[in-house]
């Protein structure tokens, strides 16, 4: 089901994620280094239960990976992402938990309370307030929850610190000279494709400590300006100057 939500700025989403981590730090223990204890947050800060089950069976849709019930304060994660049973899914598991927390924090007030109007099944509405599937990734609410998860799992200060400690202060830029070297070494892909490969390679040094996928890490590093592409007009200027 699609949830109608207003536009929320990146800055607001980042601030909401940071505020939640702050609450955890104050009420429990300070988060000084990654990974962020994302699966402590629902129960320990939000008083929301975190459950695991076969969502295919529970809600009858094949590609459901997360679901949130606002009325009964429950977040369900599909058991295919269980981090103990499937350690290789750790990154996706953590991102999905962060994503569902994002719905809770950002969207709860925009979803009408159904407690009085819907048939309750064992004390809870049989349909979740929000159901997250692979297929509806482009809806605004889903996109916002993804951004929230990214900010939650990779907080600005922790990422900047990790980058500084391993690579110094300077960002890494993929430029035309680097591309030419890559081509000379046998790369045949486009500038953008090679840039992405190289950036993923760098991101993979950071992804494990944050408990996220390489892809998610790369996007966050780009978003913080630590990984970038220098191309087009900028590049022409550079070449003219050189």
């Amino acid at each position: 089901m699609e949830v109608k939500v207003p536009r929320i700025s990146e800055r607001t989403i980042e601030a909401e994620a940071a505020a939640l981590l702050d609450r955890y730090s104050k009420e429990h223990e300070p988060i000084l280094k990654p990974p962020v204890p994302v699966d402590e947050l629902p129960e320990m800060v939000l008083q929301v239960r975190l459950e695991f089950d076969d969502l295919r069976k529970l809600v009858g849709r094949g590609d459901a990976i997360g679901a949130t019930w606002f009325e009964t304060r429950e977040i369900y994660i599909d058991q295919s992402l269980d981090p103990t049973e499937h350690p290789r899914k750790r990154g996706r598991y953590r991102f999905t938990v962060g994503h569902e927390i994002g719905h809770w924090v950002l969207h709860r007030r925009f979803v009408p309370d159904r407690a009085s109007q819907m048939a309750l099944f064992e004390g809870r509405a049989s349909e979740p307030s929000i159901l997250c599937r692979e297929a509806n990734k482009r809806e605004p609410a889903e996109w916002q929850a993804d951004r929230f998860s990214s900010y939650l799992l990779m907080p600005r200060d922790l990422v900047l610190k990790a980058w500084r400690e391993s690579r110094g202060a300077a960002p890494w830029a993929f430029d035309m000279p680097k591309y030419r070297t890559a081509v000379a070494n046998g790369f045949t892909d486009s500038f953008d494709a090679v840039a992405k490969d190289m950036m993923n390679h760098i991101a993979s040094d950071f992804a494990p400590q944050f408990g996220v996928s390489t892809e998610a890490m790369r996007i966050r590093l780009e978003n913080l300006g630590l990984l970038k592409k220098v191309q087009g007009r900028q590049l022409l200027d550079l070449e003219a100057a050189g």
Partner: protein, 116 residues
């Protein structure tokens, strides 16, 4: 002796102690999916060893939790079978005592045991 209530009971105890589902599952050595289903009484109570781990993690008496799961500790049948007549008669008689009397009796029996 109500296995239906086992899950709800350990969930209540865990939440009182402010331990998250994930942390508790790790501590006990089971997956969070399994714990989530046991706590919702979707799954029957786990085996004896796991229940003993759960009791330890919650600071509960293992025999109480086993009873809640409709089980008895596996060392007890062996004790009865070793001396079926005496043990069965002893238990039937002692079963009529009040908790206080039982506690006194246990202390008395402990004193009767030879040291070493």
């Amino acid at each position: 002796m109500n296995p239906k209530k086992f899950g709800a009971t350990i969930r209540a105890l865990r939440e009182q102690r402010q331990i998250s589902l994930r942390k508790f599952a790790d501590k006990v050595g089971i997956s969070p999916t399994y714990l989530s289903k046991v706590e919702r009484d979707e799954f029957p109570p786990p085996g004896e060893e796991t229940i003993k781990q759960i009791a330890e993690a919650l600071g509960q008496d293992p025999d109480e939790l086993l009873a809640l799961a409709g089980k008895v500790s596996s060392d007890l049948p062996a004790i009865i079978q070793q001396r079926p007549r005496e043990m069965a008669s002893f238990l039937r008689t002692a079963g009529e005592l009040t908790p206080e009397e039982l506690a006194r009796l246990t202390k008395y029996v402990e004193r009767m045991k030879r040291p070493g």
